[in-house]
């Protein structure tokens, strides 16, 4: 048997109120690369992303078929501990969602939940991950301030730091720059590119240019169907499926 990747999706179908949002998607997400999921609005990009850490669970009327293996464990197996699954993944949402607490407490939120850590260690953890997210210099003098006072771009990096502090192996991004100005977007993109040395990054975007800038691997979804996936350079230069070509050339969006 070949060595499995961190995340392996097998015959995944997702239904929402009886409507099929994802149909029979199977894919191995390459480790330590940036995988970008592209496709027109409403094609199931976000659903696919959220199915990876079971964020679909709290929604009404959702049914999931198939398997998602994370490190060989099916996360939809009832015996699987959902908090452990989520611990392995940091999430960046469309709009940065800082928690209603101080900057420090935002980063410390995960570590405090998962481990019993001394105050001194916690300080180190917070600093380390704020640095990792490229936010430390901007906030080191005001860690006690409410996170809501940060700019949106800073909040998104705070969310990144907060996610990293849990010690994940995977970073999920759901159009993580869509609410940000160009500079902040660039900043976040740069972070993601640095982080792929150690993390498996999966990003959903509807911005093709962004996909071209950061993607190592492309997943193209169309109307809930996995149309094409492969190394970014190949897919962009030489799309096999006519629908991918149509999307890349802008015929469909």
């Amino acid at each position: 048997m070949e060595t499995r990747t961190h995340i392996s999706v097998q015959n995944l179908s997702v239904y929402l109120d009886g409507l099929r949002i994802l149909r029979d998607v199977s894919i191995d997400i390459p480790d330590r690369k940036i995988t970008v999921i592209i496709g027109p609005s409403g094609c199931g990009k976000t659903t696919l992303l959220k199915s990876l850490n079971r964020l679909l669970d709290p929604l009404d009327g959702v049914r999931v078929q198939g398997r998602v293996l994370v490190d060989g464990v099916d996360i939809y197996d009832p015996r699987t501990e959902v908090t452990e699954v989520r611990k392995k993944m940091g999430l960046l949402s469309q709009r940065p969602q800082a928690l209603p607490m101080s900057i420090y407490d935002n980063v410390a939120y995960g570590p405090r939940i998962h481990n019993h850590i001394s105050k001194k260690n916690l300080d180190e953890i917070v600093e380390h991950h704020l640095r990792l997210a490229g936010l430390w210099e901007e906030v080191k003098d005001r860690l006690g301030e409410p996170a809501s006072r940060l700019s949106l771009g800073q909040q998104q990096r705070l969310c990144l730091a907060r996610g990293l502090a849990v010690g994940p192996e995977i970073i999920l991004g759901d159009e993580p720059t869509s609410a940000l100005d160009p500079q902040s977007s660039q900043n976040v993109e740069r972070r993601l590119i640095e982080l792929k040395q150690e993390y498996t990054v999966i990003v959903v975007t509807h911005i093709l240019r962004q996909a071209k800038r950061i993607a190592d691997y492309i997943v193209f979804l169309y109307l809930g169907e996995l149309v094409e996936h492969g190394p970014a350079a190949e897919v962009f230069a030489n799309p096999r499926d006519p629908r991918t070509r149509a999307y890349l050339t802008g015929e469909i969006s």
């Binding site: 908090t83 709009r95 969602q97 928690l99 607490m101 939120y109 995960g110």
Partner: protein, 292 residues
């Protein structure tokens, strides 16, 4: 031809606009006017009877019939009673509200049934809570007491607090919950560390609304809290309350005692005002962390 001058149709629309604005302004005036009128009457009628003894002494000369002494027993009694009842209501309504918002799916049957039940409970007249409290009291072999009053008023406050808190917690964006879940937090951790913090000012308001209703209600304590001239020193002793003090004082044939009823009403209103302001101030203090 450009139509920069009003044509008949436009004039009619403008007239409508003006009429409705006037109506709305009149309603605002009515509301503010009512408040001013009530507060004015209470103060005007109660001020002559207001003195230090009112708020520092218990009644002298038999249950409120005397013209001497004060209503300290009712002030303290009401504060004890409403505080106890509010605590009791918090104890039950927070879990219910968190459950239907965080644990149950958003539009599940359970959640909507619970909301419906709360609405019905809200609509039940307070005298029924009083009667119900009385039955419970008899069942447990209790006499009319502070405890029995707390139970009855707590029941009265519970749906009010729950519904008000529910409205607040329902406004929490789903993405905020997802942010917490995605960090591996359980629902309980999310509820206690994120939702409660995000909703703190609104929840304070909910608690306050309930407290205000509780401290002002006469019917629910009529059979349950009992009558006394003394300040209760244990949960099992009867407790006087301000609304009942007002009721009995107004019911006497003596004008001086009736005047004291307005003084009591002024004190009750003042208590509610102070607590409102306090909650507002506290609420503002805790808004700094809120995510908009």
């Amino acid at each position: 031809m450009s139509r920069l001058r009003p044509v008949p149709v436009l004039r009619r629309r403008k007239l409508k606009e003006r009429i409705f604005r006037a109506l709305m302004a009149a309603s605002v005036l009515l509301v503010v006017g009512c408040l001013a009128l009530i507060v004015g009457t209470i103060i005007w009628k109660g001020l002559p009877a207001m003195n230090l003894a009112m708020v520092t002494q218990t009644p002298k000369g038999g249950y409120y019939l005397g013209r001497e002494g004060g209503i300290l027993n009712a002030i303290i009694g009401s504060l004890y009673l409403a505080s106890g009842a509010t605590l009791l209501a918090i104890l039950f309504s927070l879990p219910v509200v968190l459950y239907i918002n965080i644990y149950a799916k958003r539009n599940s049957r359970l959640a909507s049934m619970t909301r419906f039940s709360l609405d019905v409970l809200w609509g039940i007249p307070s005298i029924v809570y009083g009667a119900f409290g009385f039955i419970i009291m008899i069942f447990f072999g209790l006499k009319s007491s502070l405890l029995a009053g707390i139970v009855a008023v707590g029941l009265l406050e519970f749906p009010i607090m729950s519904r008000a808190a529910d409205e607040v917690i329902r406004m929490v964006p789903r993405e905020l919950l997802e942010a917490s879940y995605s960090l591996g937090a359980t629902r309980l951790e999310t509820a206690l560390k994120v939702v409660l913090r995000q909703c703190l000012p609104g929840l304070l308001t909910a608690v306050l609304i309930a407290f205000g209703r509780g401290i002002g209600d006469a019917a629910s304590v009529l059979f349950t809290a009992g009558f006394t001239d003394r300040i209760p020193t244990s949960l099992l002793q009867p407790a006087a309350t301000l609304p009942l003090a007002i009721f009995f004082q107004l019911g006497t044939p003596f004008p001086e005692v009736q005047q004291r009823a307005y003084a009591s009403a002024a004190i009750l209103t003042l208590i509610i005002l102070v607590i409102s302001l306090l909650a507002r101030g506290l609420g503002r203090r805790y808004t700094r962390h809120i995510i908009k």
